[in-house]
């Protein structure tokens, strides 16, 4: 297969020297295990409903969405403003699978929702075979508007509910009820963990290398034998699969009830901002970016209340938020183009170097 040769062109990941005495595997394993204990052991035991509902669930779902877009934009270099639409396809599809096939277990419905989103995503991705850059961006925007119109205009998708909205079905796996906040949190966290591991493996594989080859220069990638069309469409499929599941979780685990407007163009922009700020082409960046975008407005509110004592006008606060936010994007792009994740890595490397050698 010609594509076997592309691995010489791009180097993904970097080896880190240091920490003598630890084998590379165990050095990666320790933080991973610590993270798993934190996410699945400590947080469910200590968290309260506010944290689950307002912070942790949206954080994990948005991280997943950011991860999905990062596969497409950060790794494969195909810009998209249609992520909101793809999420809504996943949400509406999972909803309809559960509604119309009541025997279907929840995980299967989520998978099928993701698969439907992947098919739609590939359709959206077809223009990428002819055009790129801004032309592609604009065509994904068209998809965004079309899907929103479709779900709003045709009642079948929302089971003819008068408001055009869908609500979470009975959440249960094998008879266990999942409707409490901590269970919804665990459902989200497990899904995100599984998909993240899958994504990490994928971007480190042959497939991931062909994606980065196309991102860096698709003409060159084609010359060294990367099947450009197939690889691009695969990126659209994987990205949309992840986004679709994120969309379903957004409704099922977080919002409870949602319509197509929950996935409008602002959502697409929000997810794009997450990966710009967090770091394009970085799995960790998706999480850092999601945390930042989610927590920054909350933080700013607190600061404003602290300074002005609750008298500040919400409209003005929104504008101040926009200004700081926009300025931050520009600042980050000029100073640290690889995003907050790269910045954090630099910071931790510096701390580690400062530490005496063991």
């Amino acid at each position: 297969m010609p594509s076997d040769r592309s691995d010489a062109t791009v180097v993904v990941g970097q080896s880190r020297a240091g920490l003598a005495g630890w084998s590379p595997q165990s050095r990666q394993l320790v933080p991973l295990l610590a993270g798993a204990v934190l996410v699945f052991g400590v947080i469910p035991a200590l968290g309260n409903d506010y944290w689950f509902n307002a912070i942790l669930i949206p954080f994990f779902v948005l991280s997943l969405a950011a991860l999905g877009l990062n596969v497409l934009t950060g790794y494969a270099g195909q810009a998209s403003l249609g992520s909101g639409a793809v999420m809504s396809v996943g949400a509406f599809a999972s909803y309809n699978f559960l509604l119309r096939l009541p025997m279907l277990p929840l995980p299967i419905a989520l998978l099928l929702g993701g698969a439907t989103a992947a098919v739609v995503g590939v359709l959206f991705g077809l223009p990428s075979l002819r055009v790129k850059g801004f032309y592609l961006l604009a065509s994904t925007l068209g998809a965004q508007f079309f899907v929103e119109w479709l779900f709003n205009g045709y009642g079948w998708f929302s089971n003819n509910s008068s408001s055009g909205s869908i609500s979470a079905p009975r959440l249960e796996i094998f008879g266990t009820d999942l409707s409490s906040p901590v269970h919804r949190y665990l459902l989200t966290a497990v899904t995100v963990a599984v998909l993240t591991v899958m994504t990490v493996n994928l971007v480190l594989s042959q497939t991931g290398r062909t994606w980065t080859a196309i991102r860096d220069m698709d003409t060159a990638a084609a010359i060294i034998g990367v099947p450009v069309a197939r690889t691009k469409l695969l990126a659209f499929a994987v990205s949309s699969f992840i986004l679709g599941i994120a969309g379903a979780l957004w409704v099922f685990a977080y919002l409870g009830t949602a319509d197509a407007h929950s996935f409008d163009i602002d959502r697409s922009f929000q997810i794009l901002f997450m990966i710009i700020i967090g770091g394009l082409g970085s799995v960790m960046g998706s999480f850092v970016g999601a945390a930042f975008i989610l927590l920054f407005p909350i933080f700013l509110d607190r600061v404003a209340v602290g300074i002005f004592g609750g008298t500040v006008d919400t409209g003005l606060l929104q504008n101040l938020h926009d200004i700081v936010f926009g300025a931050l994007i520009i600042y980050l792009l000029t100073r640290e183009p690889r995003g907050l994740a790269a910045y954090l890595t630099k910071l931790s490397d510096r701390l580690r170097r400062g530490r005496p050698a063991r």
Binding site: S139, I276, G326
Partner: protein, 293 residues
């Protein structure tokens, strides 16, 4: 048949308004390879400044001049804070920077001048008048006339003045233009100022029609398909693209709307643009890029 012609003409005239927004994009894209998402916010900023000033009793022309000055100031700041530090970075990075810029400009404009909806009266009545057998809005005709003058003015600027010729040189080949002594920073400032002026005109016309409010900044989304059809680098393309989008949108809403449900105009232009893309990937008048490895 008269009804068809009337819809067509109405659509064409609405398309002129799209073209007006698209021209601002084309100017900036040609000179600095930036797809300026902030064009909508600039348009909002200009219109909001103008309407706030006139509401405080500032005469029409003075308010226009001050709004234009604000646009020039914005251009100078953008060159210094955004374009210069990002010189040589990828197109996508620059685009994302303009996303941030659009938040900043809209935020500043609304923080300074409020989020209320302002009515704007340019003294052109928006009433239908009879032209032969069909009825056309007087406002639309005036808007078309103003756009026509603007396009002629811009093409004179590009072909007859020293600035315009250096501008075309930069659009053609940045490096070569620099090597013959054209100052890139000045070109950028001038182009962004001219785009700001176009934004002011577009903002006033759109604002007079829909009220000056935040949603004005969303006209960028209407201009995108126009740009795809016409090509990102051609002013005549932007005009023609606007006309095509305007006309087909009205006709689609009239004939296709009843069949598949209304509200088509949210996406119809994009589907149309996509069809154009499949046939002509660089738009009607865009430059086809040749890639070298």
């Amino acid at each position: 048949m008269d009804f068809f012609v009337e819809t067509l003409v109405g659509g064409l005239l609405a398309g002129v308004m799209y073209s007006l927004v698209a021209i601002g994009f084309v100017l900036i894209y040609k000179a600095s390879r930036v797809f300026n998402f902030a064009q909508g916010s600039m348009l909002l900023f200009a219109a909001l400044a103008f309407v706030t000033l006139t509401e405080h009793g500032v005469p029409f022309w003075l308010a226009g001049a001050i709004a234009l000055l604000l646009m020039i100031l914005t251009a100078v700041l953008v060159e210094r804070v955004v374009l210069r530090p990002l010189t040589g970075r990828s197109d996508l990075t620059l685009f994302m920077a303009t996303l941030g810029l659009s938040y900043v400009i809209a935020g500043v404009a609304q923080a300074a001048m409020g989020t209320d909806v302002h009515a704007l009266d340019l003294g052109i009545p928006d009433v239908p008048i009879n032209v032969g057998p069909i009825q056309v809005s007087e406002f639309d005709l005036a808007a078309a006339g103003i756009s026509g003058i603007l396009v002629i003015g811009l093409s004179l600027l590009f072909t007859r003045t020293r600035i315009g010729i250096s501008l075309r040189a930069v659009a053609d080949n940045q490096l070569a233009a620099q090597s013959v002594g054209i100052r890139l920073d000045w070109i950028w400032r001038i182009v962004w100022s001219v785009a700001g002026f176009v934004g002011l005109v577009a903002g006033l016309l759109w604002g007079a029609r829909e009220g000056v409010q935040f949603s004005l900044s969303l006209v960028v989304l209407k201009a995108l398909p126009v740009l795809i059809i016409g090509g990102f680098t051609s002013i005549p393309g932007a005009v023609l693209g606007g006309l095509i989008v305007g006309a087909s949108e009205s006709l689609a809403e009239l004939y296709l709307g009843p069949l598949i449900g209304g509200g088509l105009s949210a996406w119809f232009a994009y589907v149309l643009a996509l069809i154009f893309l499949l046939v002509r990937p660089a738009g009607l008048f865009g430059e086809r890029e040749i890639e070298r490895v």
